[in-house]
Structures are given as C-alpha cells and as structure tokens.
Symmetry: D2
Subunit: 228 residues, 4 copies
C-alpha cells in the first residue's frame, strides 16, 4: 500500500538529505552478499498474512507471498537453507512483559493463527521453523548458533512487520556476525510509511535493501549447496 | 543408582578437603531462597524418563518422578509458576553443531520422545513449556526475560541430566540474576558419580543443593501467588 | 534540531493516521513505570556529545546534556542506580561484522572519544559503566542479568542515537522483561527526522515516550532506594 | 597438582565405566578441528595466575603459563586470532547476583588483579581482550558474534578455572556453533580432582580434550591466516 503523494515527497526530501549526511560521515556503505546465504522468512504466519486479524499486514496476496514463493523456489534449487519464524505462546507467563504494550493473546502455539501460511509452507524435516517469543529472530532463540554451525554468513530477509520483527532481526544480525539483505518487495507492515523509514534506517546502517529481481539473480548464480 | 562403596569413600574424601578449601577462600556460601520462586523441571520428557532410549536416566520411577509430583503439587497449591523444558529439533540444520559430539537425531519435535512425561504433565494454558535446543534452559531461549517479567527471583530445579542440562542451566541462572535451589532427590543422570561431583561443584559455587523435604516445607510456608 | 515545517506537517499526518490504526488494533498502550527504575544513559561519550567527530549528534549542549544532568541528580537523591554505556573496541577483530556497514575505527577503548562526557561523569565505584560492542545495551552484554539481580523493572532511557542504539536498546528491553520510558528531550541523533519516526515507532509498540518534567516529577516522588 | 594415588584409582575406575556407557549410547565422539581456529585464553589474569590471592590456581609457573606461551607463539606465527578474557567489575551493582555465592569484591576493573599476566601479555591493537562478568566467555559478551564475523569455527581453550569459567565456556561454545579443543596441560583450578572430572564430562559430551603437543603440531601444520 503506497503512501500518498505529499507524504512520499516529504519522505524523499528527508531521505535524500539524510543519506547524504550518512555518506559523508562514513555510513551508507554496501555490505553485499557473503559466501553462504540462508533465507529467513519472518512471521509469515496466518495471523499476519491473512485478512481479518489484528496482526494482518498489507500487500500480502499480490506482492509479498508471490515474491517469497519465487525466493524459496530459487533457494531450494540450490539447497540454500530456508528458515521460517513464527511468534507463538503457550501461556500468559510465556509472554513475559509484552502484554504491557502489545496484544499477544491471539498468538497461541498450535492454532492456525501462528502456523506458516500454506502458500509458502515449510518442507517437513528439511526447512527449519523457529517459534520465537520476541520481535527479533535472534533474541531469545538459538538462530545465531545454528547459522554459524551451518557456515551461513548472509541472511536474505523477508516478512513482517517492518517496524517490528524485520527491523529488530536485522539490527541483531550484524552484531551476531552476519550480513543481511532485505528484499524490498517482500517485507510489509500495517502502516505504509513505517515501511519506508525503517527500510531507510536499515539500509543506511545495518543491511542492504535490494530489489527482488537482484536477489533472485544472485541465487540463480550460486553453485548448489548439495554438500550441506 | 548409588556409586559403590570405595568410590563413595574416595569422593567423600575429595569433597571434604575441597569444600574446606572453598570455604577458606570465600566460596561455599548459602544463597537461600529469594522472595518469589518458580519450579523449573528440566528435560523430564519420555526420552529421558522412560527406559529403552539412549537418553534414559536412572532412578526415575521410584525417586525422581514421585519427587517432582510432590513439588508440582505443592507449587500449584500456592500458584507458584511451573516451567518445563524439553529438547527437540525439527531438522538437521536445527541441531547446529551438536551432532559433532552428541546423538540428537532421536529428539524430534512432535514425537513422544520429546513430550513431557504424562505422570507430571503440564497443565494446558497455565504452565509454560520451553522447547530448548541447548543444554541450558537459558541458552538460546527467552526464559530469563519471562522470569523477570513475572518477578521471579529463585528457580527450584529438578530434572536431567546432572552433568548436562541441569548443570548448565544452574551456571547460567546466577549470571542472569537468579538464585537456584537444586532438589537433591529430583535430579538424575545416566552415570552415577557424575551426579555427585556436579552437585558438589554447583553447591560450592553456583546454587544451594537441598533435600526434597526442605524445599517442600519452604513451598508450604509461602503465601499464595494468587495475584500473579 | 527541528525538522522543517513541511516535513513536520507530513510526519504529523502520518503519525495521526498510524497511531489511530495501532490503537484500534490493540497497540498504543501505556506501560507506565513499574516499582524500581534505573537510569540508562546510552553512549553519551565524547565521540557523540562533542562536535567535530563523525559521530557528533545535535542538541547536546543546550538540551540533552542539561536534561541528563537533572535526571542524574534526581536519581542520585533517591539512590536510583545509574548505568552508562559507551561503545568501544580494542582491535579490528573486536568489531566483528560492523565495519561492513559502519565506521567504527575511531572508537578505541581508553581514548577520550569513548569516555563518558565529563559534564555527566559517572561516580567512581558507585555508578555502572558498560562498554558495549553493539547498538543495543543488552545485546552481547550482561545488562539484563544485573538489572534482574538489582530487582530493577523499569529503564529510564536517555542518549544517542535514536535510530541506532536507543531504538535497539528499547526493543530489547521489553523482551528481557523490562519496561522502558524514553525521555523525549534527552535523546538525539545526527538526522532530525529519524528522531521523530523512531520515537513514534517505539511509543506505539515498545515503550512510553515521556517529557523530561514528567520523569523528574516521578523520580522526586519515589522513596529512597537506600537499602539497595 | 596431582590427586593422590587412591583417589586417582577411584576416578580412573569411574571414568572407564562411564566412558564405556557414553560410547555405547552414542556420545564420546571426537569433533576434531574445523577449518579456522582461534586461541581463547580464559581468565589468565594476575588474580588467578599469581600466588597470594583467593583466586590463585595451581601449576601456573611450571606448566600452564609456559604452555600458553608456546601456544600463543605458534598461533601468532600463523596469524591465528588470540582472544583473552578477564573477569572484572566496576561497582557492586555490576556484579549482579554473584555475591550471593562468590567473593567477587577483589576483582575491580583497572587493578593489577584483573590484568592479563604479563608473561603472556596481549599484543596491543592486535589481540582481543574481553572483560566478562560471568563464568562463560560467551555469557553476556559479544564473543560469539565476533567469532562468526571472523569465520572462526574452532576454539582452542586454555585457562582457569576448570570447574568454573573453562567448563561453562566450553558448554556454551557448542550451542553457539563452535567446536572446542581444551588443551589438557593448559587448564587449571584450585581443586585438583575438579580438573579431572570436569575434563571427563567435557570430553564425553562437549569438546575434545587434547595434549599440548598435539595442538602445537596442528597449529604448525596450518597455512597462515594472513588474509584475516
């Protein structure tokens, strides 16, 4: 869902001035891909991908889901590992401090709301599904450890929400030792402008934001990870 | 399962000399209970509690399971939170580096092996079950965060194995800001002497090791956490 | 440094629409203060607080430093713990993956650049200074553990940068079990609009953003933590 | 310092029986070296390496320090990264819950007690020194992230204490995605038998325990990491 024309113009003015300032000071560098990527599909479960939930995000059916389908297919062709996250809880105690700010009571483990969208379903016993409890896919999970054990150095990130789980994940990734590439057409939110400014912040300081076709070309160019 | 008489005597000699040395240097202190405990039942799932698995531990039917039943009951009477862990994986990638040293291929999510033993079954929607991937209940999990949000300051620990998950959990607990009390009759292993020396190391430096009756009396003396 | 009038108007339009959407869906709640706060002054070291560095932030002399001085004084009067962070490294290896995106080579341990600004100097042996390596004050540090041990439940946050370390810290805080209150006049960046949109995102989903006078009144109303 | 003859015999009996049991169940495997090692010298600071402190460990002058000197030299010849840890605090609050069990008041940042022993001094600006606050070199530090960023997959561990920091570090390493090799002659404690049983537990489940000459030969066989 696009922001309106005046807002778009105001944001473009800000981003142009700010990216210039960042560049002069030494940020706004490209990190590129490393040697071994994995796909990380963040919270593409029904509560976020289907309409009618308080978590529902925009642009799912026409843009994000088809984009992730293409990415997954390109990754599978090269045996690039695919990791999914969902956010789900088993009790009020399991939610910790989040209910102070966030309505998590709909996100129960074992319900359809927290299952990965069937249009991009994980392959049983092959893909890895992480049930996380916090926005970041790294915070309070074992993700960093298994990426390192699998010699992964780059995360190709999709999913939702841009102002929440995607941003927090990418912030953590660099500190945990990984590059990230966020696929522009495959990330979403409930709030259009929040996508814009969070992509801007991340691209300046934490990761590369790249178009889908660029990432697909990169995956197609890889040799197969058949020996993983 | 008891260690034999000569080994017992040798260990007792070592422990007496060493606890004296620790005491003189300032360790071997009692930390006691804080103000708000939770029960942490570590890896009491069928792979560990039932015979016939490579993970099977000793002393389950006559000692550990009945002890945990009594602890859980005493805790429920006061609405003290009860947390269970199990160790379970969804793919080879999910296991990270562990297969280099440890045979984890039997521990699959959703199989009976990794379900909590039905004799001490969690109460649905009330208790908290954490599916961990590493020995420590803290490492790569959200446990510390939810304990703090629930204002818990003390963990009453049971489970297996003493040389693995129980030890690692208790080591992490102190650094994460929590006291631990390990219930002597409710922890086990596959290797009897390993219980002895790990309890000794922990009691000197990381936690209090206490008998079951002492912990039950403590729980009975608490006011109810009805307002949790 | 204020954003210009047109940008301000565009952002206000977005924020009004988005906060309404958040509210309807169950976010945009106030978490308030808990029972025991600590002050967390994030990266108020010379590289960020003094002019002439690539890290230099706006509004330091007239606004942020005087505000933090008042907060620290109010906190000391009640023996509320004060924690400072700085970001500093001892070798290229120590920086990990950050140089891929961020110019950290000026931030060496033991140089004036990474020392806390003398106008708000820590009290030796009383305050706590954490040398962190990542944006978040929690990521790769022991902060959460010592807050829990000190029975702190609320972080009052100041410092820089809003789009980097402050945001990431506040995101982590909730998952680690803590409330945060960000003091509006005491946070800064190099990029004015980034302050606005990051404060908005955080206030909707992760913390309460409150004015300085409100927080000072709260601190003045506390009983002394003399027994800490 | 060797354990006495009877104790030695009792421990050997236990270890033989237990390693057999572990082997039959699928543990007691060798993980070996990976492709890129780093040296991790744990808490070889004056409080532990010099006599007269409550933390002083045995076997330093004749065995551990000379062994670490040889390892460091072999590593420097191949530009293998060398990482040191020390444990040091700046305030009582900084110690968290440890004083409940452990006497940490002598371990202040910036005092000789917590500085690395000059006989194995770090090379300024080249080696990495991590000031940790917990037993494990991973817990509450950024170690895992910088190892990953440096593409390290194996830790060669030395230092003290075996029942404390060395054990906890090695337990964490595997979960964080790294192999460890503990150098038998280069680890120590205050309590001789604790070295034996902790080396046994670790070797069965978490790492390979190897003699110094074996590790030196391995380092000598490597190509230089000149491109790190």
């Amino acid at each position: 869902m696009a922001v309106d024309k005046d807002v778009r113009a105001a944001l473009d003015t800000i981003f142009a001035a700010d990216s210039d300032l960042y560049q002069k000071r030494g940020w706004n560098q490209r990190s590129g891909f490393g040697e071994r990527p994995a796909i990380l599909n963040i919270d593409l479960a029904n509560a976020w991908t289907r309409p009618g939930s308080r978590f529902s995000c925009d642009d799912m059916d026409a843009q994000i889901i088809p984009g992730v389908q293409r990415l997954n297919q390109a990754a599978r062709a090269k045996r690039v590992p695919i990791i999914y996250t969902s956010t789900a809880f088993c009790s009020r105690f399991d939610m910790g401090a989040f209910p102070l700010k966030t309505p998590f009571e709909d996100l129960l483990i074992g319900t359809p709301a927290t299952e990965i969208d069937s249009r991009i379903a994980p392959e049983d016993g092959v893909d890895t599904v992480i049930i996380k409890k916090r926005p970041s896919a790294f915070a309070g999970t074992h993700l960093a450890g298994i990426l390192r054990a699998g010699r992964i150095d780059t995360l190709i990130c999709t999913g939702v929400t841009m102002a929440g789980c995607v941003r927090h994940t990418v912030e953590d990734a660099l500190g945990e030792g990984f590059r990230s590439v966020v696929v522009k057409e495959c990330v979403g939110d409930r709030v259009p402008a929040a996508i814009e400014w969070n992509l801007f912040d991340l691209d300046m300081k934490y990761c590369d934001v790249e178009p889908l076709e660029y990432v697909l070309n990169y995956l197609d160019s890889l040799e197969s990870f058949a020996n993983l």
